[in-house]
Structures are given as C-alpha cells and as structure tokens.
C-alpha cells in the first residue's frame, strides 16, 4: 500500500475532522543531469491529427439520438425581485419539451444562499428560466413567450461605490465580502520612515472576460438513475462531485466526460448552473439535452477577471534597497462568490522582492454584475500590473536600471512561508537570459521628437505551479506491447496528453506511438484534480511516472525469465526492446516488449502510481521575466508591440514546443489585457455593453509581435520526481506591466488605469502635452 502516513486533523471553519493522507510514489527523481531520450524532446501534439481534421469532439459537438437543445432566459435587470414566471405559452409551442423556472424547479441551493432559479436576480444575465426544445431556433422562440414580472430593485455596479455607506445592498448582509484579508510582516510604518524615496500610486485593473472560444455548457443524458454529462470543463471530478451533491445522486451514478475543450483559462473549474439545468431538463423530458451558452451569456454569467483598485506604496533607501511595500486593494467580485476565485492580488507584493516590511490588505465587494472566477494567474496579473509599474517608477526616481533594482532586491528564499525555495536561482537565471536575448541596455532616453517613439519595458513575476497531491494514474501493458495510460485529468489545450505520454514513454522505454493516453472521463480514470493553477503536468507527471515505473518493474521481472537473468535490474528498455545492460557474451541478450507481453497473454501488466507530497521544508515556486519593445504614435495614441522576449522557469522542460506555446499564449493574452480587453459596464443601467467579440476586443494575429522564449531550463528535482513545474499561467503575468513600462519609456506618460487603449493613451498624451505647456509657461513666468 503506498499510503505512507495517515492522521486526523481538523480543518476549515467548522473544524471538520479529516484524514490527512501522505502517499509515496516510490520513484526517485530524475537528476538534474539525467540522460533522458523522450522527455525534453519537441514532440508534436499527440492529438494534433484529431484537431486539424475536425474529428476532435468537443462538448458542443455531442449529438445523441433524440437530443434536445436548451436555451436560458436571463434577467434584463441588474437587481430585481422575480414576482411571477408564466411559461404556459412557451410550453404550448410546438417543439418545446420542457420549461424550467422558479415555479417548477427543485429547491437547489446555489451560489452562497441563493437558489438555482432564485426569486431575486442580482445581475443582468442571471438565469430566470430555461427551455428544452427540438432545436435552438424553437428554444429561442419559446424564450420570447415566457412572461416574467420583475420588481426592479436599486443596484450598484461599481466596486468602490458598493462600499460607500448607504449603497444599494446586493445581499442583505451588505456589500463587503467577509472581513478584509490582511497580510503583514515587519512594520510598514517603520519601513517607510527608513525610506529615502517613497513611490506611491493608485492603480486600476479592468474586468477582463475569458471569452473561451467554446462556451461553457454540456450535454446531459440519463440512463435510468445514472447521469452522463459531456461537459466543457477543466475538472471532470469537480463537476461530478458538485452535480452529485446538488442533485442528491451517488457519485458513481454521475459520469462526467470531457475529451476536448475549447479553452477554459480558469473559468471552467467549477460546475456552473447550466450543467444542473441541463441535467434537470433531460430528466424532465427523458431525452438528452444540450445546453451551451451563447456568447452573450458566456460573457455575462460564466465568470470574469475581477476589477481591482490598488493603492501602492514602496519605500526604498537611496541605494535601492526596499524598506517597505504596502498595498491596499479593493476587488469587485460580482454578485456572488462562486468558489474558484483565488484572486490573490497581494501575492506578488509578498514574495517577489526582498523586503522586511510588507503589508497587504484586500477588501472584496459584491456588485450587481456577473460573478468573477479565476482567470489565468488570478490576482497576480492584477497585482503585477501595479507592483511592476511601481518598481519601474522607483527605478526612475533612483535613476537606476530597473533590472538592476530588481537584482538589488532579489529574494532568494520564501519570505511569506519563511523557508527556502527549491529553485532560488531561477529568477536570476531568467533575468540573465531574458536581458541577454532581448539586448536589454537600460532605458532608452531617446530624443523626444517625431511622432513614433520607441520604448522598452521590463517586468518580473513569481507564481506557484508546483502541482500537488493527490493525483493518480494507471498503466496497462497490452498483449501486443502497446500501453494504455489511464488518468482522470484533462487536456485543456496545454499539451497535457503529449507531456504525460512523454513521461510514460521515457519510463516504459516504449515509443510514443505505442502509447495511448486516456483522460477526461470520471468513469474510466482515477481521481485527478482540476486542471488549474498550472498544476497538471507537475501533479500528473509524477503519478504517470510512478505508474509506468510500477509496470516497468513487472515487465522486467517477466523479461528476466525469458532472458534467463537473475536480476531484473540488469535490464533496461529502449524503443520497445528490453536488453541486458552491457550485453552478454553468449545467449539471447534482448527481447521485444511485444514478445514478453504476448507470452503473458491474456494476462496483462497493471501499473499503479500516485503523486507524492510536495516538500514540507521548502517552497516550490516558478519565476520569470519579460522584456518588451513598443512603438507609440504620440499623435494618435496608437501602441504597437514590436517584440517580446521571455524567460520562464518551469523546472524540467518536458516538451519545449508545448512550453513555448504556453508562453506565446500568455504573452498574447497579456497584450490583450494591457491594450484592449475591458468589459464596459454602464453604471446607470447596470448593463454590460460589450458581451460580444465585436466590442470586447481580444488580440488578433496582427496585434502579436515576434516573441522569443529562452526557458530557464533547470530541472527542479526537489519539487517532484519529474522535476517539472507549471507553465500555463506564468507567462501572462509580466506582459502587461512590461508594456506599460515601455510606453512610459517611450512617452514619459504613466497610465495606471488598464487597459491602455488608444483613446486612453491619446487622452493621457494630450493631458501631458497641456501640462507640459503649462509648466513651461510657468517656468517662463518665473
């Protein structure tokens, strides 16, 4: 039994007794210099052929016999009491099979204390009724026939206004979400007193919308009392657990399947209402029901990156040593806490730079808008926007190179947990690599004339990505020498199938093509956590390696009999051939895996593996840095990102192609966050004005410049037996502040409000032009 240790502990607010389990994978880490042949290679995506041919079946593509299509009626009011829902006309429409609303829905709790269909709606887009019909056209016709009587209530959509006294209450208990979250070490007041220079500023980050191309949704199908959900999700087991609980079903009677998913970026890590609505409609009609959100609903009711307001103070000595870091942050979380927000805005302030006096305080506010949920590096993108610009301002004030300022304040241990990092050198390597690749030479200070001005900017980050226990994998060796690697994880587009197959191939000594990696089905694979927190490769990689090692050991035992050697440990496997290390003088010295398995048939070899715990005495973190160059047209406000250089630490690079693609993706989304992405909400009406891909601008191919990535490329064997850490989220973190810093370098204009749209940049330039003129007039007068 691989459980090494088990003890009881009390956790959470209710101090519920839980069992703490420590499992050991039993495999030794690959050393930093281990010679590996498959891991580390730039293998193409194993599911590539499925995706380029259109054969890959996404949740939206499920077509079951008799399948119905559902659509949801949503509140047109930011806050209202729902007096009455009359769906009789809709139900009478030909082709309509069922209508669900508060009038007939089961009493299911959702979002804190509200119901699945609540009698109070708290944002435009909240679910009021749902229709299942023969096709989407009829379902939409039926929605128009549902009569709803609303009693509009006062509302508030601005996070700062929501915290004012007498603001309209989103919930009865008021608009503040719990107590403000305080982190403190040392004494900031003392630190500020010790400072020779203090930089302060108020920063704002916008609400960003995930806009996964595949919307949230699922197809629900019942067979007796068993429910199958084909769901677009980052966590099949999370959805299973939540749906089973909401519907009062046994977990083994709920099966959640997700083979392919068209983007999640954090927004698909919980079960959302539509999943349970689809299950209920399917139950009512006795037919499979597909409920996929349309684009508007996707942008109103399926999560967003919460807006932040951040007041920042940095204190430093004249030599650049930080003496104080202070953050006072306000967040607008939307109308409900949905779980999975994880918006640690204070995170970067607490760890990224060495500083004895740090204080961060975070207050979250309810507003009458769609709920927020994690969005790629939640909290850190927002925090870095402010912190990394403040560091840039500090460097300017001290007249030092901003990279030098960061080196000066290098944190080589985890100040928050007060313990060492497993990779204390990674950030330094990232600084070295990225500045060299980019040709960083300090700020430009180019003569300020001409319309097109160029500038360069720098920003750094740290993040988790350690992965964690638990996580399981099985390896089945088949009679023809092929292997099934079975997991319960998901590939959310990050290359999980490929990376895990590489780990399995490396360990088993089989060619990649001989292995099939299974995932995304609660009925087939063992538990895996949600694919979030840049954790999947670092969580499942070790489990797959352990399972493959278990299978390999059994395989070598069998091979030892065939090769007539006593000690299986004298054998090795490469490319599907088991051989005696060093060969032998006479007799047979090798045998194919296929032959061993064929001779065992119909017996098979089953390997089992699990993810062991992270080290307890050290922190496993990831680090990185980016440099960007921009061109700003100071007459029109147009910003062009000319190039980006990145260097990120993800421990061992399992597959450089996949890692580089994650970096490209993060940088692209970072450009969007920096320059154009912004939910626009009319505070008078409570309406989101751009819940679409026309007015909510995301980057196009023409917005993204050549981007280079020089990985830190340093295996982290203390982290886990594969030495790999996450890379999914980190690359988005430094991009936006690096762009803002580059714009400042180019123009001398510091814009603290994201995003830096053309109109904001031009407005700021015009204001600066005016104040420059005023200042020079002022000087002349003197």
């Amino acid at each position: 039994m691989p459980i090494e240790h088990i003890e009881t502990l009390r956790e959470g607010e209710d101090q519920k007794e839980k069992l703490k389990v420590v499992e050991r994978s039993g495999v030794e880490p690959w050393g930093r210099d281990a010679s590996l042949s498959v891991v580390g290679e730039p293998h193409t995506r194993v599911e590539g052929p499925e995706k380029v041919t259109g054969r890959a079946r996404y949740a939206y593509d499920i077509r079951l016999p008799g399948q119905l299509y559902a659509r949801v009626l949503r509140s047109p009011h930011p806050h209202a009491r729902v007096r009455r829902v009359d769906s009789s006309a809709a139900e009478a429409l030909e082709g309509v099979h069922a209508v669900l609303s508060m009038e007939n829905a089961p009493d299911i709790r959702w979002y804190e204390n509200s119901k699945l269909f609540d009698s109070t709606v708290r944002f435009v887009g909240e679910e009021v009724a749902a229709v299942a019909a023969e096709n989407e056209e009829v379902a939409l016709d039926a929605l128009r026939l549902i009569e709803v009587e609303y009693e509009p209530l006062p509302f508030v959509t601005d996070m700062l206004a929501a915290l004012e006294p007498h603001a309209p209450a989103v919930h009865e208990g008021g608009n503040r979400v719990g107590e403000p979250k305080l982190y403190e070490r040392g004494d900031v007041a003392t630190g500020l007193e010790e400072a020779d220079v203090i930089v302060e500023g108020t920063f704002y980050t916008q609400t960003a919308l995930h806009n996964c191309l595949e919307p949230h949704g699922c197809t629900a199908s019942w067979d007796g009392d068993s429910l199958t959900l084909y769901e677009s999700t980052q966590g099949v087991f999370e959805v299973r657990e939540q749906v089973a609980e909401k519907l009062g079903l046994r977990e083994d009677r709920v099966r959640v399947v997700k083979r392919y998913m068209g983007g999640g970026f954090g927004s698909k890590q919980i079960a959302w209402k539509q999943t349970v609505i689809a299950a209920l409609l399917s139950q009512l009609t006795g037919q499979p029901v597909q409920l996929m959100l349309d684009r508007e609903a996707e942008n109103l009711a399926a999560g967003n990156r919460n807006p932040t307001h951040q007041r920042v103070r940095l204190g430093a000595r004249s030599d650049g040593t930080l003496t104080a870091i202070e953050l006072e942050a306000t967040l607008g979380v939307g109308a409900y806490m949905v779980g999975g927000e994880a918006s640690n805005v204070g995170g970067p302030y607490q760890r990224l730079y060495r500083c004895p006096n740090v204080r961060t305080r975070k207050t979250a506010a309810y507003i009458n808008a769609g709920p927020s949920v994690a969005f790629r590096a939640p909290g850190y993108v927002e925090g870095a926007w402010a912190l990394e610009q403040a560091m840039d301002e500090l460097a300017r004030r001290l007249d030092v190179d901003p990279v030098e300022l960061r080196r000066k304040n290098y944190a080589d241990w985890d100040q928050k947990k007060d313990r060492p990092y497993t990779s204390p050198e990674s950030l330094r390597i990232a600084y070295d690599k990225v500045t060299e690749a980019f040709g960083w030479d300090g700020y430009r200070r180019l003569p300020a004339d001409g319309a097109k001005r160029r500038g360069i900017g720098f920003a750094a980050h740290e993040w988790g990505g350690a992965g964690h226990a638990p996580g399981y994998a099985w390896v089945k060796l088949n009679s023809d020498g092929t292997a099934d690697v079975v997991t319960g994880t998901q590939d959310i587009g990050t290359g999980t199938r490929t990376g895990l197959t590489q780990v399995a191939a490396e360990t088993l000594g089989l060619p990649m093509a001989q292995i099939t990696l299974h995932l995304g089905d609660t009925a087939q694979g063992p538990y895996s956590p949600v694919s979030a927190g840049s954790a999947t490769q670092a969580t499942l990689g070790p489990a797959v390696r352990a399972a493959a090692a278990d299978a390999r050991e059994q395989l070598l035992q069998a091979a030892a009999l065939l090769l007539e050697v006593e000690d299986p440990e004298t054998l090795d496997i490469r490319d599907g051939i088991i051989f005696i290390v060093g060969g032998r003088e006479y007799g047979r010295s090798e045998v194919e895996v296929r032959e061993v398995m064929g001779r065992m048939a119909p017996h098979m070899i089953l390997g089992q593996g699990m993810r062991g715990p992270n080290p307890e005495d050290k922190s496993v973190r990831t680090f990185g840095a980016q440099c960007v160059e921009v061109e700003v047209d100071v007459e029109t406000g147009e910003v062009t990102v000319l190039r980006v250089a990145a260097s990120h630490d993800c421990g061992r690079v399992i597959n450089p192609t996949m890692v580089n693609s994650q970096v490209l993706g993060g940088v692209t989304q970072g450009i969007g966050f920096a320059l154009m992405e912004e939910r626009i909400l009319d505070d008078r009406l409570g309406f989101v004005l751009n819940p679409n891909l026309e007015h909510y601008k995301v980057p196009t191919v023409a917005d993204v410049p050549p981007t280079t990535h020089n990985a830190v490329d340093r295996p982290d064997p203390e982290a886990n037996p594969t030495g790999a850490k996450g890379i999914g989220e980190p690359p988005i973190i430094p991009t936006a502040p690096a762009i803002a810093n580059a714009i400042y370098d180019a123009t001398g204009v510091r814009i603290r409000e994201a995003p830096l749209t053309q109109w904001r940049v031009l407005r700021a330039l015009l204001e600066k032009g005016k104040s420059d003129t005023n200042n020079s007039m002022e000087r002349e007068r003197r």
Partner: protein, 330 residues
C-alpha cells in the same frame, strides 16, 4: 431571430414586388442584416434575397465619361482587388482593404456597406429601446460614448461605421436608386442624412427602392486619394476616426481637395471648411495643420470621446501628406 419567409426574386420586377410588401428586408451580403435579425433588432416578415439577382450589377468598371461604376453587389473584396480603382480612385480600394476581415469582405457588398446600421452598443443591445429604434432616449449621449460622435447633428450620437462611405464622398460619388416606376441619382452626400425625428435612419433611401450602383465621376489623372483609419486594434475594428482625402496639386498649389470623415458623426461628413481653406494654398504641412483645425471647430465631444478631436485633426494631416508628398508624418 424571428421567423420570416424567404424569397429569392428572379428579376428586378419581382424584387420590387416582394419589396413592396410590408416588413420586407433586402438580403445581399447579409453581414449586417443577419446580425440585426439575430439580435432581434430587425424582424422582417420577408427576407428578399437579391444576392444572386442577375439584373443587379456587381462589376466595377470604367464608364464612357471616364468615371467608374461600382455595382451594388460588388463585394468589398472585389473593391479591394479592383485594378480599376487605382490612381485617383485608390481611396476606395484602400478603404475596402482595411474594412472588416477577409471573410467578411468576401461576403459584404458595396450596397450593404452604405446601408449598414450603426455599431453603437446601446443600439445593438436588444434590451434597450433607444431613440434610433423608436424609443425616447439616446443612452450613449450621457453614457459610455468613447466610440461615439463628436458632432451633435442628431438626437442619435452613434458614429457611422462605413469605411467605403468617406472614400466615396471624396470621390464625389452618387448612388443610383431604382423603384418600380422610376429611378434617381443622388449625390452620396445627400443620400446620407443624420437621423431625425421623422426618419430614424442614416440614409434617405425609400422603403421601396433598390440601390443599383454607385457612380464615381471621371477625375483628373493627377488627382490622388487615400484613406486612413484609426482602430482599437490593428485589424478588424470599426474606425475610431477615419479620413478620406482626395487632392489635386499642381506646381505645389492645391487645385482641388476633398476631405471626408468617418466615425465622428451619425453619418460620414465632408469637411467643407477644410477644403475651402486649402484650395489655392501651397501643399505644406503647416497649411494642412491649420486647415485640419477647422474640421473640428464645431465639434461637441461627449464625456469619453474628446480624444477624437485630436485624432481627427491628425489623421486629416496625415491623409493630406500621404497624397501630396507621399510621406507619413515625421
């Protein structure tokens, strides 16, 4: 989308007959109409599909008097790639090239481009009954109006989205309209009209009229024209501000000049004041900058769109520079 009856007329006569029925909408490229129908802002009883109507012109050709006729069914891709639209007519091809996306340009027609409805996010929101849709309020006027009009010429402050329109305005184009009993030619400048109480649309086309073609008169070979556009991202966005300019310079003197602006008013606007200030003047940046200021002299920006004033001025100067000395601003 509300249910409708689909009709595909085989002749102009049949098209007029279908069009005469209440609640008919013409479908050509469909890139605007279908989005309006999906948002339930348009709900026609009859959709009259004229995309393949042989009698409607789709060619772009030089006509006898030296001008160019652009068929209403020509696609934006046709315009972009037309060899005819060079020299003095280049602004039109340039405008098509920066409009929308390759796919939309393969679908969208010239006629539809001129008749498209505004992109205002209040107008396009199915839950808001704004003034332009027959309601009482223009929500944008005191709302979020960063993409809206800086010239207050209508109760509606939406910005006109067409890229082709400013280009055609500086080419002095006219539209050829036909109805059951007759036809008429209207200068494009008069074809567009700021939405008013009794006509909450951006054009003066009659409900029973078909737009057949756009005619551009012959222009001197020495005339040059161009189109510049500022967008919220590098491609695939409607103009924040756009400027079309056509200039005829002789021995350094401006003989003839036309300037039009997009994205600044509910209809595309000719900047007549700039034009008259420039005629007879030397083609210098200084002149351009002084004249450009006149274009926005009457502007009344809203809370969020002040920036458009500076942007419009600058784009006018750049467009003029591009067609005079061929250089961008330095």
């Amino acid at each position: 989308m509300y249910p409708f009856e689909y009709q595909r007329p085989q002749s102009l006569e049949e098209a007029f007959r279908f069009l005469s029925r209440d609640g008919s909408e013409l479908l050509a490229g469909g890139t605007d109409l279908l989005t309006l129908m999906k948002q339930e802002i348009a709900a026609p009883n009859y959709v009259v599909d004229i995309k393949r109507l042989e009698a409607l012109p789709r060619e772009i050709q030089t006509v006898r008097d030296g001008g160019v006729r652009v068929g209403a069914l020509a696609t934006l891709s046709d315009v972009q790639n037309s060899a005819t639209l060079a020299g003095p007519y280049a602004a039109l091809a340039e405008a098509a090239e920066v409009a929308a996306t390759p796919q939309l340009r393969n679908m969208a027609t010239v006629g539809g481009n001129l008749l498209q409805r505004p992109r205002c996010w209040y107008f396009r929101n199915p839950h808001l009954h704004c003034w332009l849709k027959g309601g009482d309020d223009c929500f944008a006027r005191d709302g979020r109006n960063e993409y809206h009009a800086i010239f207050d010429i209508s109760p509606c402050v939406a910005a006109h989205p067409s890229d082709l329109a400013p280009a055609l305005l500086v080419l002095d184009a006219e539209v050829h309209l036909q109805w059951t009993d007759g036809e008429r030619r209207v200068a494009l400048e008069n074809f567009f009209a700021a939405p008013a109480e009794e006509r909450r649309r951006e054009t003066r086309i009659g409900r029973d009229e078909l737009l057949l073609s756009v005619r551009i008169p012959g222009l001197p070979a020495a005339m040059r024209s161009t189109y510049v556009k500022a967008m919220a991202r590098k491609v695939w966005a409607f103009a924040l501000v756009s400027v079309a300019a056509a200039v005829h310079v002789q021995s350094g003197q401006i003989e003839d000049v036309r300037i039009a602006l997009g994205g600044v008013a509910p209809v595309p606007l000719r900047a007549r004041a700039v034009e008259s200030a420039l005629v007879g003047q030397p083609a210098t940046i200084k002149q351009f900058e002084e004249a450009a200021a006149l274009a926005v002299a009457d502007a009344q920006p809203l809370e969020y769109n002040q920036y458009k004033i500076a942007l419009a001025r600058r784009l006018i100067v750049r467009a003029l520079q591009r067609v005079t000395d061929g250089r961008e601003a330095t």
